[in-house]
Amino acid sequence: MRRHPWLNIMRIFLVVVLALLFVFPFYWVIVTSLNTSGQALQYPPVLLPHGQFGNYVRAWSGAPWLRYFSNTVFIATVTTLLVLVTSLLAGFAFGTMRFPGKSLLFMAFLALMMIPQTVLLIPDYILLQDIHWLNTYWAQIVPWGASVFGIFMLRQFFLTLPSDYWEAAQLDGAGRLYFLWKIAVPAARPSLITIGLYTFLGSWNSFLWPFIMTNSASVQPVEVGLSNFLGTNGTDWTGLSAAVVYTTLPVLVLFLIAQKQFMKGMYSGAGGIKG
């Protein structure tokens, strides 16, 4: 199909404008984080940075950020490992084994685990309080240890894994666990990477849950740290902007590195729901 050249130019123009629209808020936060507070409050706004890295030093020393970051990394990593294990085991069972009530159980999983966590917030708060888990890492990890997305995705994968794999393994005298670990896990690697990536990102970005379940910086993640910082340093705009920049950076870098897997996961997720 032939197109008018100006139509194409229009289209490119539109795409560029859109890209700017999505990047601009963060560009501006970066600019603000690098200006003096006088420049930040100037009108008309200053749209270029002026290298005031002192804002970063001030913001960083204003809160236990290193603690927050280590907490987040720990929580997100352990949650991800836990989700991978539970998804792998349950997905394997649902995808390759036969047992009575399987489809009913699977439906129950899908339906019940769709219940938004916000509904479970209040009962879980009380239950976690009763077992003295409030303000611990566990309260932020264990309730997120099973993922319907992970179970679903691995079940789909194992349903399509040819039985030859298992037959061959059996001839070699391999047991079920050996088979799972040595053959199924390597084969399922792409799915596992996708699930891990999404779980890690979700855990890293969560706010409401840790915000309610914790109250001391020693176990709080970085998102709650930012909210605390906003509460105490809300008028230090340049410092706040600096904090926004360095809390965003790790996730952005992770996304840029793993972008391909990220998109692939979306595609397989969207493709899996067809019909």
Partner: protein, 303 residues
């Protein structure tokens, strides 16, 4: 086929203890993390528990919490806020996200870079997005008011006015989540076979006709998926609203989630908050079922 059956047979015989072993963690999670808390939530909704009043967890009041919630205005107000927010956010997300997907699908130069830019909006934590936009909306020196004044429109304190706070929050939600719709629709587009277009073109269909009669119906699964995900997520928005307005000014942006949070963790009325949570679960379930029904009815000929 034979191998398939043998495979199934082998798996059936000695599987019982393996099944238990493999499913145990997930079932334990399901019971302990979902079923038990749900039942517990239902139970406390029949009591008059206030976390600051000792012994109040044993005050059985039956359905009184539900009756009170439905009688007083605050729940209905927040439900209305939530529904407005969800409706407009999802509407614009769907339109903008789908348009973005079509734009990106055209193999323009640099499309992948632009795609990366666009998607980065949704991988950033909502609490950070909220904080960043709070800076953008600042009435004194925020960029939004500056741009409006350059365009000749008077600026205003968007987040501090009851009349503008919801649209302002919706803009942020649309900015953050249109990319999700774009990605899902792009996935759908990539799954379509080019042959369908070929035959449509041979039949002399115009671009618009092809779009309406062929592309859109084929994209239905992707559109339904993004519509459901977006509706559920917008309905339970908390982080961005909390970071930008905290529900204010007054109560003008207090959606159900903020109301529940305030009820349970500011006023410590956990029973009342649990009842609200269960009511809101019913509402969102009904909404999603309706969306699903409508889509399926239109799909009659395809299924």
């Amino acid at each position: 086929m034979e191998a398939e059956q043998r495979y199934r047979r082998i798996l059936r015989i000695k599987d019982k203890h393996y099944v238990a072993l493999f499913l145990a963690p997930a079932i334990a999670a399901l019971i302990l993390l979902t079923i038990y808390p749900m039942l517990y939530s239902l139970k406390i909704s029949f009591f008059n528990w206030n976390l600051t009043v000792p012994g109040s967890q044993n005050q059985f009041v039956g359905l009184q919490n539900y009756a009170e919630i439905l009688k007083h205005g605050e729940f209905w107000h927040s439900l209305w806020i939530t529904i407005c927010f969800t409706f407009f956010s999802v509407l614009f997300c769907m339109v903008i996200g789908t348009s973005l997907a079509f734009l990106m699908f055209q193999n323009l130069k640099g499309a992948s870079i632009v795609r990366t830019f666009v998607i980065s909006a949704m991988v950033i934590a909502p609490i950070i997005v909220g904080t960043a936009w709070r800076l953008m909306y600042n009435p004194g020196w925020g960029l939004i008011n500056y741009f409006l004044s350059v365009a000749g429109i008077g600026g205003r304190p968007f987040l501090a006015q009851a009349s503008t706070v919801l649209p302002a929050l919706i803009v942020v939600d649309v900015w953050e989540w249109s990319p999700l719709v774009m990605v899902i629709v792009l996935a759908g587009l990539q799954g379509l076979s080019p042959e369908v277009y070929e035959s449509a073109r041979v039949d002399g269909a115009s671009r618009w006709q092809t779009f309406i009669h062929i592309t859109l119906p084929l994209l239905k699964p992707a559109l339904l998926l993004s519509l459901l995900i977006r509706t559920m997520d917008a309905f339970r928005t908390f982080d961005t609203i909390y970071a930008m307005t905290g529900g204010g000014p007054g109560r003008s942006s207090e959606n159900l989630n903020i109301l529940m949070y305030n009820t349970a963790f500011e006023y410590f009325q956990v029973s009342k908050a649990a009842s609200m949570a269960l009511l809101s679960l019913i509402v969102i379930t009904v909404i999603c079922t309706l969306i699903f029904r409508v889509f399926r009815r239109n799909e009659g000929e395809a299924q």
